[in-house]
Symmetry: C2
Subunit: 212 residues, 2 copies
C-alpha cells in the first residue's frame, strides 16, 4: 500500500512561513531563508535543471523524499497566485516552464481550472477537497507513494483527517515569530512516533510516523 | 567566562506546557508527557535520589546539561505555587525536601520572600528582574556556567535580552496545541546557529548557539 508522506521546512518556532505573506513575499517576512539548506544542494539543483551545488548529510534525505513518490499534492499558495478565482490568463505558478516535480501534481483550490501541463509535470486543480485530491493522487501514483508538499494549512488538514503516514520536518535555526504554523488546530490526540533524526549543515531532519 | 545555557523540553509544535496550566496540572493539558524521556533515565533518577532507570543516547545530553553548572535560574512556575504574594506559610515548591538541583537556585518572582534552604539547594527569590538574577547566579556559580531552566516565559525574556549563549531543545513527539510557547515574541533577528542534534529514544536534542 502506498504511503502518504508529508515533508516541510519549518523554523525552530514551528512556522513554515513568516508573517505577512504576499505575492511579492510568498514565504512571508524572514521566510525565504527557510529553504537555504536545500537550494544549496546538488540534488535540488539537478531537479531544477541547474548545475553545481553541494553534497552533504541532507542529500540522502532529499533523495529519499522524492524516491518512490508517484504524485504530489500541494496547496494553492505553493502552486502560486491567488487567492480568488483564476484570471482569464491564469498564473502558471512559481515553478517556471520546467517545474521540478516531474510527476503529476494535484493543487487544492476552491476555484475550477483546467489541467496545466508544463514540461513533464501536469498540474490538476482539485476543487472537491482533500480526500478527492488524495484519491486522484494515489491513482496517478500507480502504487508509489504520495507526497504532501505543503503549505502548513494543507498538511494540517491531512494530519487532522489522519491521512498522513509519515511527516518529516526540516528544522531550520530561525525564529519566524508567527505566520503559517504547522500543527495549528491539532493537539495531543495526534499520535507521533519518532522514526529518525538526521543532523546536517544548517538543518536537522526529524521524521515521525503518524498514527491513524 | 561562564556561559548562560538554557535547556527545555518542547513539543513538536513548540510548546513547553499544554493549555490550561493550573496548580493541579502544572504542565497543562497533555504536558506531563513532555518529560517522559528524562524521568526514565538513570541519571535523572540519581539526581532525585532514586535507584534504577535507563542509560541511552539521552544520558550524555543530561549529564552535559548539569556538568560545569554552578547555579540555576527559574521562574516562579517551575519553582511552584503562585501566582500572587507568598502566603504566611509559603509553599516549599514542587521539589520536595531534597530538591534535585544541588546548587544555588534563583527564582524570578514579583513578590519578596526570604531565601529557602532545602538539603543542599538554596532558593533565592529575586524580585528586581532578569539581569539582577543573572548577576547573582553568576556570582554564585563562581566561574561555572549558569543554567536557565524555564519556563518558556523566563527563557524568552533572557533570549529577548540576548543574555543566552546556548539553547538546547529536547523535542518530543507530541503536539500540545497551545499553552506556553517557546520563542513567543521573538523573530528573525534572533540569531541561532545549529551546534548539534542528537537522536535518542522518544526525543531529539537540538542545541543552538545564540547570537548577541
Amino acid at each position: 500500500m502506498s504511503k502518504v508522506r508529508a515533508h516541510i521546512s519549518v523554523s525552530a518556532d514551528g512556522s513554515v512561513a513568516g508573517p505577512n505573506q504576499s505575492l511579492e513575499n510568498p514565504l512571508g517576512e524572514g521566510g525565504e531563508s527557510l529553504h537555504d539548506w536545500v537550494v544549496a544542494l546538488k540534488v535540488w539543483r539537478e531537479l531544477h535543471g541547474h548545475e553545481g551545488g553541494e553534497v552533504n548529510a541532507s542529500t540522502p534525505v532529499v533523495e529519499e523524499s522524492v524516491a518512490n513518490v508517484g504524485a504530489e499534492i500541494m496547496g494553492r499558495g505553493k502552486f502560486g497566485g491567488g487567492p480568488g478565482p483564476w484570471d482569464d490568463d491564469p498564473w502558471q505558478g512559481w515553478w517556471g516552464e520546467e517545474p521540478p516535480f516531474h510527476m503529476p501534481v494535484f493543487v487544492l483550490t476552491h476555484y475550477e481550472r483546467e489541467p496545466l501541463t508544463l514540461a513533464d509535470t501536469t498540474f490538476t486543480f482539485v476543487t472537491d477537497g482533500i480526500e478527492s485530491a488524495l484519491d486522484q493522487a494515489r491513482a496517478a501514483a500507480a502504487g508509489k507513494d504520495v507526497a504532501i508538499g505543503g503549505g502548513a494549512d494543507v498538511i494540517n488538514q491531512y494530519l487532522a483527517a489522519r491521512l498522513v503516514d509519515e511527516l518529516e520536518l526540516h528544522i531550520v535555526p530561525l525564529v519566524l515569530g508567527g505566520g503559517a504554523r504547522l500543527f495549528d488546530g491539532l493537539g495531543p490526540d495526534l499520535e507521533l512516533e519518532q522514526v529518525r533524526a538526521v543532523e546536517a549543515p544548517g538543518v536537522t531532519h526529524l521524521k515521525y510516523r503518524v498514527g491513524h
